[in-house]
């Protein structure tokens, strides 16, 4: 069966003055099945947000897709659709939510009306029916007193409540894929837990696929089906969640795990990765992680390691040393 979303050789470039164009997303390929929750993990500047934005055609001005890049949704390549055709996909098939819901909500419009707009944008629905659906959506995302809350303005709501409103808007046209870019990063931990539970419930009840973009490996455990780890514009490792956590192969993934402060481990010194993520105008040749890597050999500094399976066919890692291919 073909996957719901199939991203092939995604390359995003930006013109960079007279210098060579920047390539913040470089040769990224992955697929998502219907109803699957896939996490895209990496630190800031790794290209994960641009990867997410490119799927519903929301890349910023000036960004260009590579000539061989394809984004197939249900078998149709949507990478080069006109803006008008893309808008159809965005509403009905693919929805996206962001870290800061305030930036996407209209401050002078009642939230119920905004959800109503999302419903009527793609289909003719009678007014009374719109109101009924708005209240049903608000209830579905766990908002008590849906009728009352529908009349609120965004500024009257807490951060967690606003994120629920954004999710309700995203659900309005019953998308098959929801892209959630750091949806809980700005929220308190107890509210973060609520929103993650909600996303998980919706995925199951609606059989909706979710691409969860996050810097936090901790929220991925026990929730995602698969994890993609991005570093400096490329996917360096991907695997089903359990094998990735039990046996990370790429030294960057291992470094991330060692860096995370854990509540259930002894207190004291952590084992960080040295240095920081390089900027797209200073990406090292060969393996882009090599300047921060304790495993590196001569080859890593010149040749880019391919993303190929090591032990399990569904668990590739782009590392010469992990692949045992250092000659």
């Amino acid at each position: 069966m073909k996957p719901l979303l199939d991203v092939v050789d995604l390359r995003v470039t930006f013109p960079h003055g007279r210098a060579e164009a920047l390539t913040p997303v470089d040769d990224v390929s992955f697929a998502i099945d219907r109803g699957e929750l896939v996490a895209l993990v990496g630190e800031s500047g790794c290209g994960k947000t641009l990867t997410g934005l490119s799927v519903p055609g929301l890349l910023p001005r000036g960004a260009e897709l590579g000539p061989s890049s394809a984004i197939r949704f249900d078998g149709v390549d949507i990478a080069r659709l006109s803006e008008k055709a893309m808008r159809q996909y965005r509403g009905q098939h693919i929805a996206m939510i962001f870290q800061d819901p305030m930036a996407s909500l209209n401050p002078v419009m009642r939230v119920g009306d905004q959800i109503g707009e999302a419903i009527t944008a793609h289909q003719a629905v009678a007014k009374r029916e719109v109101a009924r659906r708005v209240h049903a959506l608000l209830a579905e995302v766990g908002i008590a007193d849906p009728e009352g809350r529908a009349r609120s303005y965004a500024h009257q709501l807490s951060g967690g409540m606003r994120q629920r409103i954004m999710i309700a808007m995203a659900l309005a046209a019953e998308p098959e894929l929801l892209i959630a870019d750091e949806p809980t990063t700005a929220l308190d931990v107890t509210v973060q837990a609520q929103i993650l539970e909600l996303l998980d419930t919706l995925r199951q009840s609606r059989r909706m696929a979710v691409l969860l973009i996050t810097h936090d490996l901790g929220i991925v455990a026990g929730r995602a089906d698969r994890v993609l780890v991005m570093y400096a514009g490329r996917i360096v490792e991907s695997a089903p969640t359990a094998p990735l956590f039990e046996h990370p192969d790429h030294p960057y993934t291992r470094g991330l795990f060692a860096s995370i402060p854990r509540i259930d481990a002894p207190a004291g010194r952590l084992t960080p990765i040295r240095g920081s993520v390089p900027r797209p105008d200073a990406w090292p040749v060969g393996c882009r992680f090599h300047p921060r890597c304790d495993w590196r050999v001569e080859k890593c500094m010149h040749l880019r390691p391919p993303l190929v399976p090591i032990e399990r066919p569904d668990h590739p890692a782009a590392c010469w040393v992990a692949q045992g291919n250092t000659e």
């Binding site: 860096s259 402060p261 509540i263």
Partner: protein, 333 residues
């Protein structure tokens, strides 16, 4: 001997401004907080946004004037000091912020920012400031040559190191760290946590480490205080508070910390609702509206529980003898 820092019943209320809201109830940001910090000790202050944890830090340093309460440093009540004595005492109490960029002057070189305190307090002869700044930059893991560069040239982690060097320049005994690593990527966050640990050891520093992330606090704190809606609901030895919390809120907070371990089947308590507004706190226990304790009753709705010794820590809950999380597998939503 008196403790290095002693906070007694600290209260900070903010009156909403404007003549239309003059009769509005005050925002009770901090509503009676007490604790001590010994020399070389780290107290972790944990809470969600709006819990009042940053306000506590700012009021201890008298960057704001408390509404009520006493803050003693080295045994001396800060409110009793003349402005001049307060200035010299403040040298020994410093602060490191979440956003180091906001506290560094973009038009001054890193060297000038780090050396500013040395100059103001005349700690070293003018001719030696450059050499001292170089030493400080090295101590926080930066190249001494960075002194001639400007803040915008640095990454978030490097800026935080600059902010730490600036705080250390005046040789403090006590540093308030207000969410110092929460804006940093995980790999860099771990570097800065290690740096703070090393500096504490080398200089016998005391920290008030304010953060929303319990796992981060766990790495540094000897003791932990958990704040909710302007009050401390639980305080004790760090291991006790995390491994055997007695307040239902602490239990929920511990269970909400994401664990990078898919095998971990910890009891996940998902709290219903969000914290109430500090302008209209519940009359009884501040946590009562969200509490899932099976013994919760009318007493919780009317009588605010004070901190009292239960097991090995102090807890503000009428029913802390019964561990709520053991009795409920999932919290009602």
């Amino acid at each position: 001997m008196s403790p290095l820092v002693e906070v007694q019943d600290l209260v900070k209320h903010y009156q909403a401004g404007g003549f239309l809201s003059r009769n509005a109830p005050p925002v009770r940001a901090v509503d009676g907080v007490s604790f001590v910090i010994e020399a070389g000790e780290t107290l972790g202050l944990v809470g969600e946004s709006g819990s009042g944890k940053s306000t506590v830090g700012r009021n201890i340093l008298r960057l704001e004037t408390p509404t009520r309460g006493v803050v003693k440093f080295e045994g001396v009540d800060l409110a009793s000091l003349s402005p001049r004595d307060l200035r010299s005492t403040r040298r020994r109490m410093q602060i490191v912020f979440q956003d180091p960029f906001g506290s560094l002057n973009p038009r001054r070189t890193v060297g000038a920012s780090v050396g500013e305190g040395l100059e103001i307090h005349a700690l070293v002869p003018r001719s030696e400031i450059g050499a001292r700044v170089a030493e400080l930059l090295e101590e926080v893991g930066l190249d001494p040559d960075y002194a001639t560069r400007f803040p915008h040239e640095f990454s978030g982690g490097q800026r935080q190191r600059i902010g730490i060097a600036r705080a250390l320049a005046v040789e403090p005994r006590f540093v308030v760290c207000d969410e110092p690593v929460s804006a940093l990527d995980v790999s860099v966050q771990a570097q800065v946590i290690n740096l703070l640990l090393d500096l504490r050891e080398r200089r016998n520093l005391a920290y008030l480490f304010i953060a929303h992330d319990l796992a981060v606090v766990r790495q540094l704190a000897h003791r932990i205080a958990v704040m909710y809606l302007g009050t401390i609901v639980e305080i004790g030895d760090a291991r006790t508070v995390i491994d055997a919390p007695r307040h239902p809120y602490t239990q929920a907070l511990v269970s909400a910390v994401p664990s990078p371990d898919p095998g971990a089947t910890r009891n996940r308590i998902v709290l219903a609702g969000e914290p109430p507004s500090p302008a209209a706190p519940p009359p009884g226990c501040p946590f009562e509206p969200r509490c899932f304790h099976p013994l919760k009753d009318d007493r919780c709705r009317v009588e605010r529980p004070g901190l009292r010794r239960v097991a090995a820590q102090d807890v503000a809950c009428h029913y802390a003898e019964v561990v709520a999380a053991d009795m409920t597998t999932t919290a009602p939503t």
